[in-house]
């Protein structure tokens, strides 16, 4: 069953493009990464799903319910962490957690206490006294304390130190194992490759690709490193070329047998052919497919 489904979801701000014909499907229990550079449309997609923005066209469902018609039912089962966590300045952490729980008509005190302990967040501190990282922790507790079915997290680790990032992902993995669905946007590719089972890449408001992380990692693209050569070979299907101190590095996404025959005419002393890492693959999506479209 799809927990989240969008069909040609489009949002324009006047004449300016936000997102265009976004089609996504996130299954129940998925740990889904939504990847894209700044301004690609990640936050616009999320804010449209949450009802903060109204779609220009297209539609979306969460838990099989229409995001516009069944907004309140949907929101009661979503935990949302915005990219920039801003709260009411005069309040203490404890007050804002309690205010959110009251808005949800739930008693979340026990869960909030446990999360604050794990994230080392002092509930007696005033919001105005908190650092960026601690405000993010407040946002995390707010998104998690009511144990929702779907977590929508917009660039969740910004401002968190590496130890806290690890603890945060450990909590998310626990929730995911308990059946919750995680949908997180990020431009940090390593965290997506490490934790997510599925991912979609968005660029300039359009989805470039959406698949399992495993399949996305097997693109047929190879990273070639030639040592003891005098220049980048002039083949077709080459991208990301780099030449330094007699070493040529490039990505090749053409036919691999043809590559071997082409390399026969290239002078070199050593060669390495490997799968590119996850970052390189997504950089490849950002640069090439986006440019073609």
């Amino acid at each position: 069953m799809n927990v989240l489904l969008t069909e040609d979801l489009t949002k324009f701000y006047g004449i300016h493009r936000g997102i265009e014909n976004v089609c996504l499907s996130v299954g129940e229990g998925d740990f889904f990464g939504f990847i894209g550079p700044n301004g690609a449309g990640k936050s616009t997609t999320i804010r449209t799903l949450l009802g903060l923005l109204s779609p220009t066209s297209g539609r979306a469902e969460i838990f099989g319910k229409d995001i516009l018609r069944d907004h309140l039912e949907i929101m009661s089962e979503i935990g949302y962490l915005p990219s920039e966590a801003v709260f009411y300045n005069g309040m203490k952490v404890r007050d804002i957690l309690s205010f959110s729980a009251k808005l949800r008509k739930k008693d979340c005190k026990k869960e909030a206490d446990e999360l604050c302990e794990r994230l080392e967040l002092d509930q007696e501190r005033k919001i105005s006294q908190l650092s960026l990282g601690n405000r993010k922790k407040v946002g995390i507790v707010l998104a998690l304390q009511h144990r929702p079915r779907l977590y929508i997290l917009d660039e969740p680790t910004g401002g968190l130190d590496p130890l806290m990032q690890q603890e945060f992902y450990s909590i998310l993995q626990e929730r995911n194992k308990q059946g919750a669905t995680i949908f997180l946007s990020s431009h940090i590719l390593s965290e997506v490759s490490k934790y997510c089972s599925h991912a979609a890449v968005i660029r300039a408001g359009k989805i470039l690709v959406s698949d399992s992380v495993e399949k996305l990692g097997h693109t047929g693209v190879k990273r070639i490193v030639l040592q003891g050569t005098d220049k980048i070979p002039q083949f077709a299907h080459i991208s990301d070329p780099c030449f330094e101190n007699g070493t040529a590095k490039f990505l090749y996404d053409g036919d691999q047998k043809e590559l071997i025959s082409l390399l026969a005419d290239v002078p070199f002393t050593d060669i390495s052919i490997s799968d590119p890492d996850f970052d390189e693959i997504f950089m490849h999506y950002y640069k090439t497919e986006g440019d073609e479209k």
């Binding site: 804010r47 923005l53 309140l72 009411y88 009251k102 808005l103």
Partner: protein
């Protein structure tokens, strides 16, 4: 009623400050009356003979040797301006502050409908104005008792009621505007002061008498209230209609608009 109580708590500090400041001015004006009373009959002719200036503030229709008439002028200056500015500032910021202070993303992503949020905020706005006026009424009663003028309170209740309605109307107009803007302190003060001056202008010349149909100060005019002993139904009906239209606009606009953070 979580949003309502949250707004009441958020608005408590400005409410206390404004209540104390305007109460102090009002109490000072009332408590000074015994010292001024002997000179009032001498000043009366002078205040009534200042031509347009007298007309502008309704002083040509007043008898300053009567305490309610004196109160009507002083109340117009303190509650009329101070109260209206408090109402305007509270109303104008009630909705737009969420986007301005970037808390809208937090509030609007909870399972509470936008209409419910607007309703509870509007209720908090009205309750704050009622509390503000209750404090002023208590100060008026107490000060009047202190100077031995408690018997005149019957006339003064009508003036205080008219100002309560005036402030509620201004607050609701500003509340409606608040749903269309991101920040509007200047607009709020402009509306409160602008409405006050519209009434003054309409008192000076017959040519712009129609302005009385726009400004709520027309039905809160102390001279008229003390003469007629009732609030003008036409002006009041227009004011209530305008306030209702603005409140409805706040509901429709907030329900439909994109929330930017």
């Amino acid at each position: 009623m979580t949003v309502f109580f949250h707004e009441m708590k958020r608005g408590s500090q400005p409410l206390i400050i404004c209540s104390v400041v305007v109460s102090f001015m009002l109490a000072a004006a009332i408590l000074l009356y015994p010292q001024m009373e002997p000179q009032m009959s001498e000043m009366e002719g002078m205040l009534a003979d200042m031509g347009s200036f007298s007309s502008a503030f309704g002083m040509d229709k007043m008898n300053f040797s009567r305490f309610p008439d004196y109160f009507a002028i002083e109340c117009g200056n303190t509650v009329g301006i101070g109260g209206a500015i408090f109402a305007a500032l509270t109303g104008i910021s009630m909705l737009c502050k969420e986007e301005k202070e970037k808390t809208a993303e937090f509030l609007f992503t909870h399972p509470v409908s936008r209409c419910r949020i607007v309703f509870e905020k509007l209720l908090a706005l009205i309750v704050q104005i009622v509390i503000f006026n209750a404090v002023l009424s208590a100060v008026t009663v107490l000060s009047s008792v202190i100077i031995g003028k408690a018997s005149d309170l019957a006339d003064m209740w009508l003036i205080l009621l008219a100002y309560l309605i005036l402030e509620t109307e201004i607050a609701m107009i500003c509340f409606g505007i608040s749903s269309f803007i991101r920040s509007g302190i200047g607009i709020g003060i402009g509306i409160a002061v602008g409405m006050y001056f519209l009434n003054i202008i309409s008192n000076i010349t017959e040519d712009v008498k129609f302005l009385k149909y726009i400004t709520p100060y027309a039905y809160a005019d102390g001279a008229e209230l003390l003469t007629n002993h009732y609030i003008d139904g036409v002006y009041l009906a227009i004011g209530i209609t305008l306030a209702a239209v603005c409140a409805a606009a706040a509901f429709f606009r907030t329900a439909k608009k994109d929330i930017f953070c």
